[in-house]
């Protein structure tokens, strides 16, 4: 019942906040978001399962109830957490609370709708990470799009409408293609599958000889077909180059708190799903086409980093570097070794915290200066020492400096992929990504943060953060930075 309580408390909070007056909505939402945060914390502390549940690992807080009976098929309300989803749930609850707090200043219209939608988004995300029946999972997967669309389209930047509809339609097409792919896999197993329960499907698909050919195709072709469709669908969400074009638009136009959730949690939906579906259910296809997938991963790493290098807008830099970071996750997954998959999972978490932190810091700078362009400012360290300090810490995390969580994630991924059957060349090339990351981050920091103070826009900057919100900002940011280092030590 823990998971139901978790999702329900978020939904109820969302309803309450939607009806609350604008003035109190922000504080109320933050207070109410503590409930799921506490719940997920307790779940984590009492959690004694480990491993991938679909591969026979343990499952905690599991519930199953028959939901829909259709012809000879059944859909179950089946939820549970395992070693992969538990950290992501905690990531979601922490980042949501942080995003809500960070929205207190920048969001100054229609607050109750804003916070209500953020909480609704959280409910969807928690559902994605806990659902174990395909259809239930798919419902949550699609639910996430709705609040995200409104959050970008109503509170976003100047080109928000274009960015929102692009995000909406692009990711929806991807979901539908993935849907067809998964169903092909399920129906190819003939009458042996009567429920699209992920655990059952995963076990059956992995049993040799269960998948039958349909429509004149051999079983292996069917598997490859299903794999390709699902991979395409998830690749958009991750995003993997060349399916990434929605991401910069959405990130740049989205308000900062939404960018935090978008980079911090939404991108993880893609890699989580890839791990749950493609890599768990069809390891044979992964083995056969490992080199090809590794190419996608490496191209994402390098190309994403190069794109980031070419940007002037701080928010765009962080957005493109997310593509690069998610490339490491894919590389770790395709390596399919203990270190690789573990590193990929850890990299998901680490990137969630670091990119969230980066977006928050950029948001603070933007609020003070009303510009995000690298060329428009310099010497910010002079006026905003705290913010800049955090910026530097987050950037070091991104670069993968030792003792930071980014380091742990990347090292594990590299260890894993060097160890695996795919050519070490891929790993070697991907490692160059780090150099580029360091390049653009150091360059951006040097130009904006250090040197003599100068600002092109006409805003006064107080030398010291004095307002309440700003202190909040710092606390939150430091905290999330601290959490990321803490988790790094636990691995």
């Amino acid at each position: 019942m823990w998971i139901e309580a978790l999702i329900l408390s978020t939904l109820v909070a969302s309803g309450i906040v939607l009806l609350a007056p604008n003035r109190y909505a922000g504080k109320l939402a933050a207070a109410l978001s503590l409930a799921p945060l506490a719940l997920s914390g307790i779940m984590w502390l009492n959690y004694d399962a480990a491993g991938n549940a679909l591969l026979g690992g343990d499952m905690a807080y599991e519930t199953t109830t028959r939901w829909v009976e259709f012809a000879s098929y059944g859909l179950n309300w089946h939820v549970g957490v395992d070693g992969i989803s538990m950290p992501l749930i905690v990531l979601t609850t922490i980042l949501t609370t942080l995003a809500i707090v960070s929205a207190w200043t920048p969001i100054d219209t229609r607050q109750s709708q804003f916070y209500g939608l953020v909480l609704f988004l959280q409910a969807g995300l928690l559902g994605v990470f806990t659902a174990l029946d395909f259809f239930v999972w798919f419902i949550f997967w699609e639910v996430v799009l709705v609040p995200m669309y409104f959050l970008i389209a109503i509170w976003g930047g100047p080109r928000r409408k274009y960015a929102a509809i692009k995000f909406f339609v692009y990711t929806n097409i991807a979901s539908l293609i993935m849907f067809v792919g998964f169903l092909t896999l399920v129906f190819s197993m003939g009458p042996s599958v009567r429920a699209i329960d992920l655990t059952q499907v995963a076990q059956l698909v992995r049993t040799p000889g269960v998948v039958e050919g349909i429509a004149g195709f051999s079983p292996n072709t069917v598997k490859l077909f299903a794999f390709t469709l699902m991979f395409l669908g998830f690749a958009v969400k991750v995003p993997i180059v060349p399916f990434h074009t929605w991401l910069p638009d959405a990130h740049v136009e989205a308000p900062t708190p939404v960018s935090v959730l978008l980079a911090g949690v939404l991108l993880k939906m893609g890699t989580y799903a890839l791990l749950r579906f493609n890599f768990t259910m069809l390891p044979g296809v992964v083995r056969d086409y490992a080199a090809l997938i590794a190419v996608f991963a490496v191209v994402s790493v390098i190309y994403g980093a190069l794109l980031a290098l070419a940007q002037q807008d701080l928010k765009r830099i962080v957005a493109y570097s997310s593509i690069s970071s998610m490339g490491y996750v894919i590389l770790g997954l395709v390596a399919y070794t203990t270190h690789g998959v573990g590193g990929a999972t850890f990299q998901m978490l680490s990137h969630g915290f670091i990119s969230g932190l980066m977006f928050m810091v950029v948001g603070v700078i933007y609020n003070e200066t009303h510009t995000r362009m690298v060329g428009d400012m310099s010497g910010m360290a002079d006026r905003m020492p705290w913010t800049v300090g955090i910026f530097v810490a987050a950037a070091f995390g991104y670069m993968g400096l030792p003792l930071m969580s980014g380091f742990a994630g990347e090292v594990l991924v590299f260890l894993g992929s060097f160890d695996s059957t795919i050519s070490p060349l891929f790993t070697a090339v991907a490692m160059f990504g780090i150099v580029i990351v360091a390049g653009y981050l150091l360059w951006a920091m040097q130009r904006t943060l250090f040197g003599p103070f100068d600002l092109e826009t006409e805003y006064e900057i107080r030398p010291r953060p004095s307002t309440t919100w700003h202190r909040w900002w710092c606390c939150c940011s430091v905290w999330s930075g601290w959490v990321s280092t803490l988790t790094s030590s636990t691995v």
């Binding site: 829909v68 012809a71 699609e142 169903l183």
Partner: protein, 500 residues
């Protein structure tokens, strides 16, 4: 309801839903002839009778369906097999009477101050009884008569605003295309009769098995498909739909696009499964292939045309054509020896569609009542003026687009699943791409209501109770059908399995 109490009812009581509709229609005419110039009290009385009549028909259908009438002890065959009452007939009776209830509720305000209100309601009831009978029809004669009973009042309803040129033109167009397709269908029926010598669906199937006149039979079947295409607003007889839906009063558009479409489909389901089972007519004409082509063309044409519209009502009209294309997947996915999965999916989708599409058209009725305007831009900023109605409209739009804010999500994906299951994965891909495209134009309405800023400002003077009630009910049911989809799917798949 126990079986014992059921036994007390005579068999012919099974047609009660249709009878209630007809009796209410006559009752309304009587009230109207007693006081032909309705005052406020008469208006209340008329509406009360109408709504009570429709709700009774709905409750009786639901009661029969839950109690197992015509299901536990096999279908109830009446009038020497001309009509049959089974799970499918009752299921569609529920769809038709639910839509009727919603449309009548909205009509309370929409037709207020109109002196022909009783006629309007009578026509709705007559058409509804025709649609319910269409679901029970088990012979070509009964089917054709019910079809005409459903169609003729619909023509008059579309042209109801007789001083409005658009309405009259739409009525005429609807009538002409309807007359043409009826003639085509009748000719097809006569050819089938000529080959088989019987009108009864099951007997036709038996006679086909040992006939040599394959060519004539094939032509007949194709012509009957034409009649079905008209009623369901599918290609190639869809031309009337955008005109009629746009020109007709919005509640009538809701009625025709939801209930009438469902009635067309129930005829198709029963007809093609019992009279022309795919295993029997395989050598004659492969109607699954025919429906496959129609499905692809219909959904693609409907969705692409909808995407280019500037007028919201017309966009909904084309989207309705697109949804006919989705439901045709159910017929295209029928295979030899298949279970009730495909047809059940189609039925479930039609039920959910009945609520979400009716709700969407009734929202248009609301904007017509307020005189907001017809284009997307006219809806700008409406969300902050009338939040309740616009939240409901958002639910309808996203549910129609297949996002999980309502039951449309589950029913649509189970329908796509039917295609994949029959090996037509590429049909599912085409449908999925269509569905994603539809998100673009549905979200335009949502974007206009909540995101775009209005150019001028307008005052909403009054909030009509009836239309609001209908919209809110439709929205609540649409949302509840997501968690409660199990209730629908159970009956739908049971009814479909009993038929195939």
């Amino acid at each position: 309801m126990t079986g014992a109490t059921l036994l007390e009812l005579p068999e012919y009581a099974a047609v009660a839903p249709a009878v209630i509709m007809i009796v209410t229609a006559l009752l309304l005419l009587v009230i109207d002839s007693i006081s032909p110039e309705p005052g406020e009290n008469d208006r209340l009385a008329l509406n009360a009778v109408a709504i009570v009549g429709a709700v009774t028909a709905l409750s009786v259908s639901a009661w029969f369906l839950v109690a197992g009438t015509g299901q536990t002890e096999g279908p109830i065959s009446l009038f020497e097999g001309a009509l049959v009452v089974d799970g499918m007939a009752l299921f569609f009776s529920i769809i038709v009477s639910s839509v009727t209830v919603l449309v009548l509720l909205a009509g309370y305000d929409y037709a207020a101050g109109d002196r022909y209100q009783a006629e309007y309601q009578t026509l709705v009831f007559l058409a509804a009884s025709g649609m319910i009978l269409l679901g029970m029809a088990n012979s070509f004669v009964a089917a054709f008569l019910s079809l005409e009973l459903a169609s003729l009042p619909s023509y008059a309803l579309v042209a109801y605003l007789k001083h409005n040129r658009g309405s009259v033109e739409a009525g005429l167009k609807y009538f002409l295309v309807g007359a043409l397709s009826s003639a085509v269908m009748l000719y097809g029926i006569s050819l089938v009769y000529g080959v088989t010598g019987t009108f009864q669906f099951a007997a036709v199937a038996e006679a086909i098995a040992d006939t040599g006149l394959v060519g004539i039979l094939g032509v007949g079947i194709v012509m009957i498909v034409g009649g079905v295409a008209f009623k369901t607003a599918s290609v190639p007889f869809h031309f009337w739909a955008p005109e009629a839906y746009e020109g007709a009063p919005a509640p009538v558009s809701a009625f025709i696009s939801s209930a009438s479409k469902a009635a067309g489909f129930v005829l198709a389901f029963r007809l093609f499964v019992t009279a022309f089972p795919i295993g029997v007519v395989e050598g004659v004409v492969d109607w699954t292939l025919l429906f496959l082509v129609l499905s692809i063309v219909t959904m693609t044409l409907g969705n692409f045309a909808a995407a280019t519209q500037e007028n919201v009502k017309r966009m909904l009209a084309y989207s309705s054509v697109g949804h006919a294309g989705y439901v045709l997947i159910a017929l295209a996915s029928v295979t030899t020896g298949s279970d009730g999965y495909a047809l059940g999916a189609g039925m479930a989708h039609l039920l959910v569609y009945g609520f979400m599409n009716t709700g969407a058209f009734l929202f248009i009725a609301l904007t017509e009542y307020w005189d907001v305007g017809r284009t997307f831009e006219d809806f700008n900023g409406l969300g902050w003026e009338a939040p309740v109605a616009c939240v409901a409209m958002t639910v309808f739009m996203f549910s129609l687009a297949g996002l999980p804010l309502g039951g449309g999500f589950v029913s649509k994906y189970i329908l796509f699943g039917a295609a994949v299951r029959s090996g037509l994965w590429w049909l599912a891909v085409i449908a999925a791409i269509n569905s994603a495209l539809s998100l673009y134009y549905y979200s335009r309405v949502v974007k206009a209501m909540w995101i775009d800023d209005p150019e001028g400002s307008f005052e909403i003077e009054s909030y009509p109770v009836g239309i609001y009630a209908a919209i809110v009910i439709a929205a609540v049911v649409t949302v509840l059908l997501l968690p409660g989809f199990g209730l629908v799917s159970e009956h739908a798949s049971a009814a479909a399995s009993a038929l195939v």
